[in-house]
Amino acid sequence: MPRIWKAVLLTSLYSVLALLSGAVNAELKSLSDQDLSEVDGKGVGLVFEDFIFSHGHDPSDDKVFRITGLTSTSGEAVVVNVDQLYIARSGSNYGSTLDPVNLGRLDNPYEIGLLDGNGLGLNDEAVLQISGPGKVDASLGYDCLDTAAVQGSGECSSRPASGGWANGERPDLGLELEVNVGSETPRNLSIHAKSAVFDGSYLRLWGDGTEQKMAAEFRLNFYTPELEISTCSQANQSCGSAVKMQGFAMELAMGHTFQPLYLGADAISGGLTIEIAKITHEYINNIDVVTGQSDGTAEGDVAYAFFNDYYSNPEYRSNITMDNIEVSGTSLGSARIEGLLVQYLDVEFRDLEP
């Protein structure tokens, strides 16, 4: 090819490439710091507005809701009819009056998000978190148990139903069961919680690379001014044969980042397994087994500080408190279980049938 034509051809090709790259540049636009600062989604917030759920077993109305596949200790089939399962506004009178309730607030919603493990003691791990409404400063929040709580009375963000805000964010929850064992007379078991609050609850999940398992940290906070367990029939839910726990507060702590909760199934028996690993530390051997103190090395000091925090930090402990227990109308006073620390747990379910 003559040199002049080569030059023309190359110049043409460069021109085409330049044209194409020009077109590409026109499609892309750089994001400024200002633009980027407006992108702030960390997770997805969920709020249920005007929410009611109710379903129950009622053959006369073509409704079926039952639990089967259970067997009594004598080998008889157990059929549990779910007479009613409901979530509705507080004041539902055992689920007989179903008014709408909100679950979660716009500024404190239920949330699904990803957390950076580096801030939680899990280096280079992404942590999935599913959480309930948060707790807030006591000057801004509401008492967790009081159905007439006003702002500034406690740490819960969910508000009770009131004249100014009829829905509230504290639902009544209930489950009414009718247990049928073989040909025996059906027995009832009902659980009702009034004005329930789950603020501060969360479930964190991540992959434990060392154990090759899914690891979890679970906090369940559950507050209700009255939790009632009764044997009343569905037609007469306010009968006397009930245990009422007034001012019921449960703060359950299962697992944490350095002592995770593992949920799994056994690879041989197929049974459900629940495990909380025993507490340990890489420098545990630098703690004196007699005095319980550091052996004086830097490693020993680190290990001592770790265990000192583990045994003194209330964050790792579970509490269940009740202001009053009433059995069939007789008051038994208050009950408290406080500072329960799960140091090791290994549970395996298995089938009792041969």
Binding site: M1, L20, G45, E49, I52, P100, W165, A267
Partner: protein, 179 residues
């Protein structure tokens, strides 16, 4: 001849680039302002799962007329390497819904005073006006292997839940990014 081929190729390339450019046209604010579809989506439907039994038939799965076998769908999930499996087994029946809505909503008021402070858009999923289960059931279980046909299969069934009839479900689910 080679030079002619090269020139021909060049002309074709330039032509194609010109063509490609001709396909792209920017939409100005005026055009965009005329796009008004904002009323959302209204969905009605029925989802049936293995009502008459699935396509598999072996010693564990079968058609629904054989009470000794399960005939619903199976979902198994493993949370541990070489461990057992969480199982939702024998899923069958149908769920019919009418009037599930999906729309974008601007919240500026309500919610006991929270709406005015929030002052943003959310995705609103409206619960269906009617939700009906027909012979819907599932079994919660754990098992030693993912598939019932695998060697050493053992399963512990915890319970079977059966649902039929109209369910009361009202309200809206609001979805939005959180800071």
């Amino acid at each position: 001849m080679n030079v002619m081929k090269a020139i021909y190729l060049f002309v074709v390339l330039v032509f194609q680039v010109a063509l490609a450019n001709a396909e792209m046209a920017s939409i100005d604010d005026q055009d965009l302002s005329e796009v008004t579809g904002q009323s959302g989506v209204y969905l009605t439907g029925e989802v049936s799962i293995n009502e008459q039994g699935g396509p598999l038939s072996d010693t564990y799965f079968g058609d629904c007329s054989d009470p000794a076998k399960v005939c619903g769908a199976r979902i198994s999930l493993q949370t541990e390497q070489d461990g057992g499996w969480f199982v939702l087994d024998n899923i069958k029946g149908s769920i019919a819904f009418e009037g599930l809505t999906l729309q974008v909503r601007n919240i500026t008021s309500g919610f006991g005073g929270d709406g005015a402070l929030f002052n943003r858009d959310v995705i609103e999923i409206g619960m269906p006006e009617s939700l009906r289960f027909d012979d819907f059931q599932y079994t919660i279980a754990t098992s030693s292997t993912g598939r019932p046909s695998d060697a050493g299969f053992e399963q512990v069934d915890m319970m079977t839940v059966e649902m039929s009839g109209e369910v009361t479900l009202e309200g809206n689910l609001l979805v939005f990014p959180t800071p």
